[in-house]
Structure formats: C-alpha cells, structure tokens
C-alpha cells in the first residue's frame, strides 16, 4: 500500500472535477483520482448547450434565468443557489470561451444561442434563446476544453484509480447553544489502482467529490455504464445524508428501446413530438411552449400518450420525434451527432422519417448536500470542514425537483469552479487530519471478501433484476404499490448480493471486481431513491405519485434528507432515517406550474 499526501484530492474527472482542478491546481498541490481516463467522463455525452443570459441574440437577463430554474424545479430549488448559478453563468461561458471552447457563432462572430426547454423570456412569456452551444456536442467540447486546460496547468491525474472509501473521523463538538454533537472531518480517501490491483491511500486536507450520477440504477438510461452512484454511496455509508433522492430526471427523448440520448436541442431547433395519430400532442399538455416544456412534463406527457393507447410501433410503446419539416442542411449544421445516432442505432433517416423515442433515466437531481461554496453538510447546516462536492453527485440545490436542460453543464462549471477555489483556500489554512489506524482495512476486507467468495450469485444477474424492477416501478409514474414492489425486490437483491462472487481472481484490470463493487453502490442508491419516493406523498417535478397526484406545499415544500441509520425505520424500510430541510426562498413565491 502506498500513502500519498496532497493539499487537495479531487475524486472524479468529469466537468465538475476538472473545472475544480483548474482552480485548485493553480493554488494548492492537487491530485485528481478518476476511475476512467478523464476524457471518457460522461460530461462528454451532453449535447445541447449551456444556458447563460448573454443576450447575444435577443433580450435576456440572469433574473429571468433564475426564475425559470426555480419554476422548472417546481419551487423546490434553493433560490439563493439558483441566483448564484444564473448570475455566474455568464462568466462561466466566457471562461470556457477564453479557454478555447469552439462555440457556434452568430453572423457577427458572437457566441450563438438557441432555445431550450423551460427557458423563457420574462417569466414564461415565450421561449428564449439562452443556450450557448457547439453543434450538438457541447458537453464533448466542454470536457475536451477542460482537459486541455488541465494539461496546460499540469494537473496531476491518477487515471483508472477507483476510490472505494473515504477516511473520516468524528470529534466531539458543541454548537453555539451548547448542545453536543459529533463533528465529522475528512482525512482522505482510499483508492484501488485498476492496472495493478494495489491500494493507495491519499491523505488530503481537502477532498472534492465530483463523481457524477447513478443512472445505471435503471435499465433504460442515457447514462454510461460507469455511472453507478459511487460518490453518493460512499458519502451515504459514512453517515452523510443524501438530499432529494426521489427526484430522478427522465429525459423525454431517448432512442426507443436503447435509451441513448437525443438532445432537447432537437426540439430547440424546431423538432416536435407526435403520437400514433400524427398529433402534436404537447399542444394539449403545455399550450404556450408546447414541445419546449420542461423535461418532467414532456416525459410524463409521452408516457401518458403511450398509456392511453396512442403509442407507436408494433407494441405501441413509444412516440415519435419529428424533424422531417426541418431543412436537412439545418439538421446537419445544428444536430449532426444525434441524427447519426438515429441512423446508426435504429436505422431511421431523420430527414424523411420521425424517430422513435421514449423517456430515459438521465439525471439525479438529488445528491450530497452542499452549500453554495460547495461545502458538504453533515446535517441541515453543519459543514464538514475540508469536504466538498460538485456536479451531479451534489445537491446544492439548484435543480429542485426537476432540472432544466443545459443547467447541468452550467452547474458543473459554476459549482466546480467554486469547489476548486473553496477547497484550495481551506487546504492552505488547514492541518491534515490524522489518518485512522489501518486506513485501508475496510477496503482490503471488502475486496478480499469479494475475491474469495464462494458464493453463487452473479453480478450481471442481480444488476439486471435491479434495473428491471426500477424501470417497472420507480420510473415516470409511481405509487405506493409500485414502490412497495420495488422495495421487496431491492431487499431480496441486497441479501443475494452478500452471496455474490467474481470470476476474475487476478489483480490486473479486474473489471469483474469493479462491477461487483459498483453493484453494491447501485443497490444502496436504488433503496434510497425508492425510500425517498415512498416518503414524499405528493407529486412535484420529476416525482409523480399517482396516489398523490397534486403538489402539496403544506406538507412537502421541503427537501428530503435520507440518512443511513441502522436503528431507524422509514416507511417500513429499516436502516434509513428520513429528515427534512427547509427550502430557501428569496424572491419567488410558489405558483401553480403551467407552461
């Protein structure tokens, strides 16, 4: 085992991790640990754009952007955080441009902007052009540009180092009112080197988690195979709460049956959704902005069309994304990648035929709770000194119960930057927390147990059963019965997971072992998501309970906070304690959400 010492250790090298590294690396000795090569991260799959009220093509301002974000999140957004994000969006885009990002341009040479779902002029009057973009590979260009700038600033990467544990201590402490509590402090992380199978302990004054989401909990997802909720899982196991985990975004336009993402930019550029009758059905659900309604509304409308028998195809189980009224040259210029996906994977020519689409699990709105400086909270307001989180793994909360399109690329840039600055600043004024005895023991035991297991269960079998049950019961529509069904299976799978074995017993690139460990995180995340969904007896944003179809501000205008707690029971689920946290309001009072 090797021990490394850094001022700042960043876990994850997607957009948030690398944006943080660019800041932190210039201020403090920084290492980035990533289970993939940095340019493989899923930020690169983001397509449509990054919103900022540059007002390059029409009138716009950051206050409108803040309002849209708050309304888009069905008022569960912390408004101070949304304001920070919308304000700093402008510099975030300009930072990227200065770093070299090749944005599409207006005829005058300014950064071009296009429409996106839920982004409107003057508080909902009409769709506004706010998304800055690079064709339909904006995420790719952000990931490449950030990596390029990490190379420029000699950021130290540990590629294919999989972080399996966080080293944390608890100290007795007293609050201002004199009550005693346990203050958590971070000492470092334990990482598994995939190439050699060796463990490395990284001691650090600051640790930033930027590990992304957990979309692989579901079968139909736009997410990469590697998005298995590792960072959320590690935090949860250390007693850190997870906020708002019931809110998962299902992106309306996944390629039917495959889940591969077709950007909302298609609709931003004029594509529309049709059912089996050829109807533009969004006219009924969102009369003002129609196909450019926020994702939760569009996804639910699509699922409803299918449920009412107006789905297309032999099984009537998808709807159509129609681009056939657009000029092929326009499609080629603005949407080249996604139209190629339709051709490659479904054999459909989008110039002449509509493309089969259905909602796909896309983004976890919830995550590790942080404040606007990206500091992680161990409860509703106690900061864990030196621990930070940014990007999809975190919950600031700028997305509330439903994220607007493009706001994730924005989130990683704004809060990634803030995390990097905060982490470096903290590290420069702090001492190392002493490593616990045998810091790697937990991880060694976990790996040894997995390798030496004589169990009979296979990772792929359990994972498939988990993903199937989540798709069937915790997707766009949920109710108590469906959530109960999911929980029964998740509990059973957790038992069977104890009996899981890996076939690869080697040390070099043991990706069989990696998948087994990832499955453990997936099971934890599935349980938390389902428990939180059970707890929230209302419908809001991405969480729709058929047994509670209305928003209930009186009882549920608050964040859910799921804690791992062996002594607790929530909604009949043992081991999880559910608490709540107030939503921060600044200028917008909740209104009925209509588009």
């Amino acid at each position: 085992m090797q021990v490394h010492k850094y001022d700042v250790v960043i876990v994850g090298a997607g957009g948030a991790g690398m944006r943080a590294a660019i800041e932190s690396g210039q201020r403090a000795r920084t290492a980035v640990l990533t289970k993939l090569y940095p340019t493989r991260s899923h930020t690169g799959a983001a397509q449509g754009g990054m919103c900022a009220a540059l007002a390059n093509v029409e009138e716009d301002n950051w206050e409108w952007h803040t309002f849209d974000t708050v309304k888009g999140g069905d008022y569960l957004v912390d408004q101070d955080a949304a304001e920070v994000m919308a304000k700093e969006a402008i510099d975030a885009v300009l930072d990227l441009e200065k770093m070299g990002l090749p944005f599409n341009r207006t005829p005058e040479g300014k950064i071009d902007q296009r429409r996106f779902g839920g982004h409107t002029r003057d508080h909902g009057k009409a769709a506004v052009r706010r998304a800055c973009y690079a064709a339909d590979r904006t995420g790719h260009m952000i990931l490449q540009t950030l990596y390029q700038n990490c190379v420029k600033h000699n950021v130290e990467f540990y590629n294919e180092f999989y972080v399996l544990d966080m080293l944390m201590v608890e100290e007795d402490a007293f609050r201002e009112d004199g009550t005693a509590y346990k203050q958590k402090r971070v000492a470092g992380v334990v990482s598994y080197d995939l190439a050699t199978g060796e463990l490395h302990v990284f001691q650090a004054k600051s640790v930033i988690f930027a590990t992304g989401g957990a979309g692989k909990v579901f079968k139909t997802t736009s997410n990469a195979h590697t998005l298995t909720g590792d960072g959320m899982g590690i935090a949860f196991r250390k007693g850190i709460p997870l906020e708002d985990m019931e809110f998962v975004q299902f992106h309306p336009t996944g390629l039917a049956g495959l889940g591969i993402l077709l950007s909302e930019a298609a609709r931003g550029e004029g594509a529309i959704l049709r059912n089996s009758e050829g109807e533009r059905f969004m006219e009924r659900y969102a009369p003002t902005i129609k196909d450019l309604a926020p994702r939760d509304i569009v996804a639910r409308s699509m699922a409803n069309e299918v449920r009412e028998g107006r789905g297309c195809g032999p099984n009537k189980d998808y709807v159509l994304l129609d681009l056939t009224h657009l000029e092929p040259a326009h499609i080629d210029a603005k949407l080249p990648d996604i139209t190629e996906f339709a051709r490659t994977y479904l054999g459909v020519e989008p110039y002449t035929d509509p493309v089969p689409v259905f909602p796909t699990a896309h983004y976890v709105m919830g995550g590790i709770p942080t404040n606007i400086d990206a500091e992680v909270l161990q409860d509703n307001d106690t900061v864990i000194p030196g621990l930070f989180a940014a990007g999809e793994v975190a919950c600031v909360s700028v997305h509330g119960s439903n994220r607007l399109g493009t706001n994730s690329l924005l989130d990683i840039n704004v809060f990634g930057k803030r995390a990097g600055i905060s982490a470096a600043k903290y590290a420069l004024g702090a001492e190392y927390v002493e490593l616990p005895e045998d810091p790697e023991k937990f991880t060694t035991d976990q790996i040894d147990a997995m390798i030496n297991s004589t169990g009979t269960e296979r990772v792929a079998v359990l994972r498939k059963e988990l993903q199937d049950i989540m798709d069937a019961n915790v997707q766009v529509f949920r109710d108590k019965d469906s959530l109960d069904r999911a929980l029964v299976v998740i509990e059973e799978l957790r038992e069977r997971y104890k009996n899981v074995a890996v076939q690869d017993k080697g040390k070099r690139f043991n990706l069989d072992l990696l998948e087994a460990i990832e499955l453990g995180f997936l099971l934890d995340m599935a349980e938390v998501m389902t428990a939180a969904a059970m707890y929230r007896k209302e419908s809001r944003g991405g969480h729709y309970r058929e047994d509670f179809p209305n928003r209930d501000d009186e009882n549920f205008m608050k964040h859910s906070m799921s804690y791992r707690d062996a002594t607790a029971t929530t909604e009949g689920i043992s081991g999880i304690r559910m608490e709540t946290k107030p939503v921060i309001f600044t200028r917008y009072q909740p209104m009925e959400r209509k588009y």
Partner: protein
C-alpha cells in the same frame, strides 16, 4: 443565428409502418476474441464464444454477453456505449472500430467475428492497452489555446467561416482508433501519430490561437507530420468521421507555406 421556422402542423398523416419496429431479428455468431491474461498464461491466444444476438446489438453487447454470462475475466474498457467517450476502440475483423458503434447485423455472420486489442500500444490484458504513450504524444503538441496580449473582457469574436476551418478536428474523442491503425505508428512508436496531429490542427487553424508556429515547429520534427505516408487508414478508422488525412495534409501545407 437560429432561423425562425413556420409552426409545424398540429396533426399529420403518418406513413404506414413509420418508425420501423416489428420483430427484432435474432442470429447466431461466433465471437473470436484475442485473449491475453498475463497473470495466468504467458502468451495471447484466440478464444471462440458462440452467442445468440439481436439485430440491434453492437459488438460491445456481444462482449458484455461473454463477460456477464460466460467468463467474467474477459476485460475491455467501455463507458458511454454510444460512441462519444472513446473507451472501446478495438480491432474488429481487422479494422479499428468502436465496439459500441459497430452493429453486429452489419458484419458477416458466416464466419467468426474477430476482436483484438488495438495495435502499437503496450498490451496490458485482453483488449486493454496502455494508453499513456498515446496521451504523451497528445500532450506534446500543446493541446490548449495559447494567446498573447490582453485577455478580452467578454468573448473573443470569431466568424462562422473561421470556426469552420477547424470544426472537423474538434470532434476528436481521443479513442486512438486512428493512431493505432497507422502502419508508421506500428513500426515507429516515436511517431506522433494522427490523433496528436488532428489535435494540433484543431489549434493551428483556430483564429483565436497564437501558438500555431510553435506547434508547426514541433510537427516539423523528424517524428512529426512528414512520417505520414498518406495511407488513409486513419480516416477510414475514425469513428467520428473526421477527415484525418486531410487535416494532416493541411498541417503539412501550413509548414511549407511558413518556411517560404
């Protein structure tokens, strides 16, 4: 700028059978994988797997089927599974491809489908190679925007025409399919290789960049752009459709134009 579009019709007549669909065809294949497990066997060897697959499956699905249902030790990199992360470049039937972008239905099922690691980089295990030499070449061409003078307060302007000059090479996902398909790279590991040149091109032809001359100097080196013998393997291999050989030719021309 986005153009104003007329409102599409509220309702249209759909063509019968629109959206494709119907039964997904099923077929049997032999997947012949070049295995290398240095912890148990000294030499690489071929192993066949008989699989039943579907019309929408990719080579990556076949590899997963082997790993998940038959042999968990089969090792390969993958992440996004739809051709944007660049993890799963490999030699499929002798040609460099992304496993997640190669549909099985497009391959000949009458004979085994061969899958092996990309060539020219040190083999680590099964389909996994050491990517470090590849990224080393990439880093050497200074793959980041370099400006002289004052930083502007807002964005730098760039015309759509100037943007178009390098847009093609911004699509690179660093999968190494091009570099590891290049016969010069196979025989001379010092050669920068097409991917590094593509990424140099992306900055040399960016009107906002001021370090084009430095990059041209680096690529004028004996291991630089002149080693290219224009075999077009790289262009053929690129899963992003980048005109790699053309980009290399443009860099060559830029070096010549500069030395005059």
């Amino acid at each position: 700028m986005s153009t104003e579009l007329p409102e599409p019709a509220s309702k249209i007549e759909l063509k019968p059978g629109v959206g494709g669909g119907g039964e997904i065809p099923q077929f049997n294949i032999t997947l012949r994988v070049r295995r290398y497990l240095p912890e148990t066997t000294a030499d690489a060897y071929w192993e066949d797997f008989e699989l039943t697959m579907y019309g929408t499956d990719r080579v990556l699905d076949a590899l997963h089927k082997v790993k998940w249902d038959h042999d968990g030790s089969l090792s390969f990199r993958r992440s996004c599974a739809h051709g944007v992360c660049g993890s799963d470049a490999m030699r499929i039937n002798g040609r460099n491809r992304l496993a997640c972008k190669t549909l099985l239905k497009d391959l000949d099922h009458s004979k085994p489908i061969t899958v092996e690691a990309i060539k020219g980089l040190p083999l680590e295990k099964d389909l996994i190679v050491d990517m470090e030499p590849f990224f080393q070449s990439y880093r050497e061409i200074m793959p980041f925007l370099i400006n002289k003078g004052h930083e502007p307060s807002a964005e730098r302007y760039q015309s759509a025409e100037d943007h178009a000059k390098f847009e093609d090479t911004t699509k690179c996902i660093l999968c190494a399919a091009c570099t590891s398909s290049c016969p010069v790279f196979w025989t001379d590991g010092q050669y920068f290789g097409p991917a590094a040149i593509v990424n140099a091109h992306r900055f040399i032809f960016d009107s906002r960049d001021d370090a084009g001359d430095m990059r041209l100097e680096i690529l004028n080196d004996k291991e630089g752009v002149w080693r290219c013998r224009t075999t077009f393997n790289c262009t053929e291999a690129c899963p992003r459709g980048i005109q790699v050989t053309q980009a290399i030719a443009e860099v060559k021309q830029a070096i010549l134009a500069r030395s005059i």
